[in-house]
Symmetry: C2
Subunit: 377 residues, 2 copies
Amino acid sequence: MSKNKTERARLSVSRRQRSTPFTPRIETLGVSDYSIVNHTILPKGFGRSVEEDYWHLREHVQMWDVSCQRQVEIKGPDAALLLQRMTPRDLRDVQPGQCMYAPIIDEHAGMLNDPVILILDYDHFWLSIADSDLLLWTKGLAVAYGLNVEIDEPDVSPLAVQGPRADDLVAKVFGDAVRSIRFFKFEKLDFDGHELVVARTGYSRQGGFEIYLNDSSLGLALWDALWDAGENLNVAPGSPNLIERVEGGLLSYGNEMTRKNNPIECGLGHFCSYASELDYIGKEALSRIHLQGPQRIIRGVRFDGDKTPACANTWKLTVDDEFAGQITTAIWSPRFNQNVALGMLEQAYWNPGQVVNVHCADGSVRDGFVTELPMQP
Amino acid sequence: MSKNKTERARLSVSRRQRSTPFTPRIETLGVSDYSIVNHTILPKGFGRSVEEDYWHLREHVQMWDVSCQRQVEIKGPDAALLLQRMTPRDLRDVQPGQCMYAPIIDEHAGMLNDPVILILDYDHFWLSIADSDLLLWTKGLAVAYGLNVEIDEPDVSPLAVQGPRADDLVAKVFGDAVRSIRFFKFEKLDFDGHELVVARTGYSRQGGFEIYLNDSSLGLALWDALWDAGENLNVAPGSPNLIERVEGGLLSYGNEMTRKNNPIECGLGHFCSYASELDYIGKEALSRIHLQGPQRIIRGVRFDGDKTPACANTWKLTVDDEFAGQITTAIWSPRFNQNVALGMLEQAYWNPGQVVNVHCADGSVRDGFVTELPMQP
């Protein structure tokens, strides 16, 4: 995976790698790079550089086809009980209209996913998931526990509008009501006679919304309405931007963490409760880690040298030839004029400012240092 | 997804889309097309056409990096009990050394995966899986049932050697013992002091083996040993070949069937048992379908006209303007000099010889007819 851009392999086409309700527009707009998330294509580039997309995202507004954030729908009398068993986050006081970022863990406290949970009602939830088939874990638990719930993947496809002009763009389609939606809250708003969930969420630090299209047949109408509304706002097609998310410390399941990592290592300890009233899978294992403290934690790393190659595998970090951790994602930051990365730092080396050596896949060893997240210039 | 080959988007690079122990060799050999299966890259082409690869596979021998066929390992006192709960296939008489193709179904008898199960011992199994996180279903069941099992994804990466010269090639590395391995059986054979599972299985109808590398650090040594052994056998890098698998009626989970399909529809009814001693998830739902008979079934379809575009979505089939089913995979067959396809045919139209209209994504409507599987020339 060390090839340069012009040599990279193309993605083969099949039904298994699912298209989205927005795919025809994405293709017309010249999509050049795809990723696969949840068996669904995620547009990752449109022929411009990641740096150009980065500056545009910070200054204007972009539309992202994030339909790959599939929903695991849980509803019914036992829905709240099942959901609380799946996460260490205390969900006892949630209210409809809230979005809750929540680690989902297994019996060893290993991360299985890190969805945003949409509280549609007290007995009705959507888990807007990262890249693992959380549907199967959820269904397996429900079947074996014998719970009274319905679990499915509904016809719901999120479309993100991100960037400083997102309010102006989305207000043109959904009305000024969107301006008063608070962070991690949602409203159900009308589009062409259909009620859509509009949430102030998104996988960037530039602000904006995710609109949960709930009828694939309206995909092109929704895309076109938003696109037309963006005409004077310099709207562009975009995607989760690697530079922006690394600087911002936004984690990616499968990149920064896997089932081998617990939420405390992932810096998600503040989402975990050990209240005696809560009964969740992995509580015993997680409580032990909580008491002992983690052995490693996710941090930022900045490092010198030429523009880094893409990180297709973990790269070793060392301090005085001792193992100090691993890089999981790396890219050049034009704002910091330096390479920026996310990685897992061992306890002895995790303090911000710690000097480290970064062993890149191209064989180079670069000088770097540990940073807090989000990174500060 | 209707673009032609030179316009198709490239696959973006990240740790989440996992490399394999064979990736460095695959890249040196000029991989041009990737797919993603189980969060792992699957090489799909090496700059030659699918037709060239097809003829080569039928006449010579190929090495395929199918590490994406990840293993779900189940072991421990309750392993056999759990495994039997997961499948309608009767596993009571299995013996170590057997490979068992088995549908895995949910409580509605919907297909979750269709692995080949390797019986390593009476309490130790590998499920060599298609493209869904069956690990999560398996773990969810085990946790909620409270079973005494260990479940994990081990460091095991299958390498397939397929084609009429596969015996000659593999015998040069593992000895003539491989020639006597029967179909869907495996032996543990020595490679460089390590015992590897060598199974007479694979995702083609041309014969061959799958070698289960159980230590990533040996990946390049194994690849090189096999590659060198193939020097006088016209060995080439390859991949599951779309023409060959469609003609041969080999199904692909996510393409031909999803969770919305039951195993009887998928033509897997002969793998399903309704014996009263068996207790598996979905038995009630499956028994009902078994008694009533399926509403539709997977068949082959051959159709006329120019070379078909790739099938990125389902394509409608009609008879006299009535809905008759859907195509799920389609490609040009140079041997039949016609397009060949797999699809789900409704009951009234599923008889071989039935004439149908195929509504391709390019807007064309082609004349076709239904066939048995595997297809006969």
